[in-house]
């Protein structure tokens, strides 16, 4: 009997030991390589940080900079904007620091909102040929908040801005949106999918935490969209640190002080299906701008640039015709 048990144990150990052992920390195993590990990925260097960036169109045309959400998401879900290159726009995409395929930084690299504003300023400087070349910002979710933070700091630098469901331009507005869109119900599959994985995987490195952040989206928390928006690689440390920064320093999250000085028209879009947003929240958030064109994008939820593009594009094209 003892011999049988020992034989079974030895066989089990042999089989399991023959399995290849992988590591969460290894590059390229669970998340794609970034610009730091793969030189073939198109990149620019801004403020000492290597950013994944691509452009479409003629560099001398008016610039449109697509600014993705998160913090910690990437621009893959905004690639529909490249269609505007056919409309005489020079379309620029970049993954923010610590996100997508851009360089990862330690927590100190996301210590204040200003680093994102400075980074966007650097991207504009990198691609702008002269000060007369018009620049339009197109931001989604957090990216729309960042676009507004930039305009709040440089009210007269930008010719136009397209905003798709920014959570808010102040922390109370953003908190309200979070509460409406991410209600964690104790007994729901969604909630438990969100927290149960923590007992399987822990980590402090970028590869592990980027992967864990991707897994945490299993519950489709973005309201109103039927499908899943594509992405390259989430930024775990960027996301954790930036949200903690906002919670701990709500004063840094007021982007409204100088918006009254931005008198150009702003295109502000909200989706038909995102019940957490709606016209009421859009009215509250957009009211900080003096000149707003508010549009509802039909047949999509929060991921307007991806799932709502067919209805978003005509509104953008009409808007660009007006401002340029």
């Amino acid at each position: 009997m003892k011999f049988k048990i020992l034989s079974l144990l030895a066989f089990t150990l042999l089989v399991l030991n023959s399995c290849k052992e992988l590591s969460f920390e290894s590059d390229g195993v669970l998340v794609p390589l970034t610009v730091m590990e793969d030189n073939s990925i198109p990149s620019i260097t801004v403020n000492g940080v290597k950013l994944h960036s691509e452009t479409y169109g003629d560099p001398s045309d008016p610039i449109l900079i697509a600014i993705h959400g998160g913090p910690g998401a990437d621009y893959r879900g905004m690639l529909n904007f490249k269609e505007l290159a056919n409309d005489k726009m020079y379309v620029v995409f970049y993954d923010q620091r610590g996100s997508g395929l851009s360089q990862r930084l330690d927590k100190d690299g996301y210590s204040e909102v200003q680093v994102y504003i400075d980074e966007l300023h650097g991207v504009i400087q990198h691609y702008r040929q002269d000060s007369m070349q018009p620049v339009v910002l197109a931001g989604h979710s957090w990216g729309a908040m960042l676009a507004t933070a930039y305009i709040n700091q440089y009210p007269n630098e930008i010719s136009g801005v397209i905003l798709a469901e920014p959570g808010g331009f102040t922390w109370p507005q953003t908190e309200t949106y979070f509460e409406n869109s991410r209600k964690l119900e104790l007994f729901s599959e969604l909630t438990n999918d969100y927290v149960y994985q923590d007992q399987f995987i822990t980590g402090s490195d970028h590869n592990t935490l980027d992967y864990k952040l991707a897994l945490s989206t299993a519950g489709d928390v973005s309201t109103g969209d039927i499908g899943r928006v594509p992405y390259w690689r989430y930024g775990g440390i960027c996301n954790i640190t930036s949200i903690k920064l906002a919670i701990d320093n709500p004063d840094q999250m007021d982007f409204t002080e100088n918006l009254k000085d931005h008198t150009s028209k702003v295109l502000f879009a909200y989706s038909e299906f995102n019940a957490a947003y709606g016209r009421d929240h859009a009215n509250v958030v957009s009211s900080a701008y003096p000149n707003i064109e508010l549009v509802e994008i039909k047949n999509c939820g929060h991921e307007i640039p991806h799932f709502g593009w067919n209805n978003f594009y005509p509104a953008i094209k009409d808007y660009l015709t007006q401002i340029l």
Binding site: L9, N17, K20, L30, L186, F187, V195, T202
Partner: protein, 224 residues
């Protein structure tokens, strides 16, 4: 080598335990314990288990339990534990006990299926009277090896994503208090609560605490 070590740990620890047990002086007449609890432990979870008191070099409690988190798909996620609880030292009503568990757990979402082997060690020190006890506990839950199988959603996003066994996976220490009181000769109500902390400098869990309210049903041997 890591795999072998992991498996040895699992095999050696291949017994589980009731979370909160009164080790009062009458333990030698106890026969078995059946327990059930509800609480939050990386999700709202429901647990059932059974244990038997056996006499070897010491009186031991050998247990097995099963827990599932709440949700629409009840069996896509679960945790099973096998273990043993050993009284280490006693002065009057003060008891020091150790618990060693082997863990097998599963988690499945639209993105990935995880299967995990782990182990847990727990030290509890407390004051045990015949009908009630209160104790402090400290433990470490090590996620030793995790197998990942990704869904088509993950593969579409990143075609080179790799399935397989991943080592090491992580771990959490925890620290808290537990207490229990018999409300009848066989039924004991108990409660546990505490905080968790990820190993080394790892990021903590999204909700870094645990809490559990349970019922133990104890069978006693007939004595002359």
């Amino acid at each position: 080598m890591k795999t072998i070590l992991s498996i040895i740990i699992i095999v050696v620890a291949n017994f589980v335990s009731a979370q909160s047990v009164n080790w009062s002086t009458e333990k030698n007449v106890r026969k078995s314990i059946t327990y059930s609890s509800f609480g939050f432990d990386h999700g709202a979870t429901l647990q059932i288990g059974h244990g038997r008191y056996i006499e070897l070099f010491k009186p031991l409690l050998v247990t097995a339990d099963f827990s599932i988190p709440m949700g629409n798909d009840l069996l896509d996620d679960f945790k099973t534990r096998l273990g043993v609880q050993i009284p280490i030292y006693q002065i009057d009503h003060f008891h020091l006990t150790a618990r060693l568990n082997a863990i097998f757990r599963r988690h499945e979402t639209k993105l990935v299926r995880m299967i995990n082997f782990g182990s847990e060690i727990n030290i509890t020190m407390g004051y045990h009277k015949n009908t009630w006890h209160i104790a402090g506990e400290f433990g470490f839950d090590k996620s030793i090896s995790t197998h990942l199988k990704h869904s088509s959603v993950m593969v579409e996003n990143y075609p080179s994503i790799t399935d397989g066994w991943f080592i090491p996976s992580g771990g959490h220490s925890y620290m808290g208090i537990q207490s229990g009181k018999f409300i009848s000769s066989q039924i004991e109500l108990n409660i546990r609560l505490g905080i968790t902390n990820a190993q080394f400098n790892d990021e903590n869990s999204l909700i870094p605490f645990y809490t559990q309210i349970g019922v133990n049903y104890t069978l006693f041997k007939k004595t002359k």
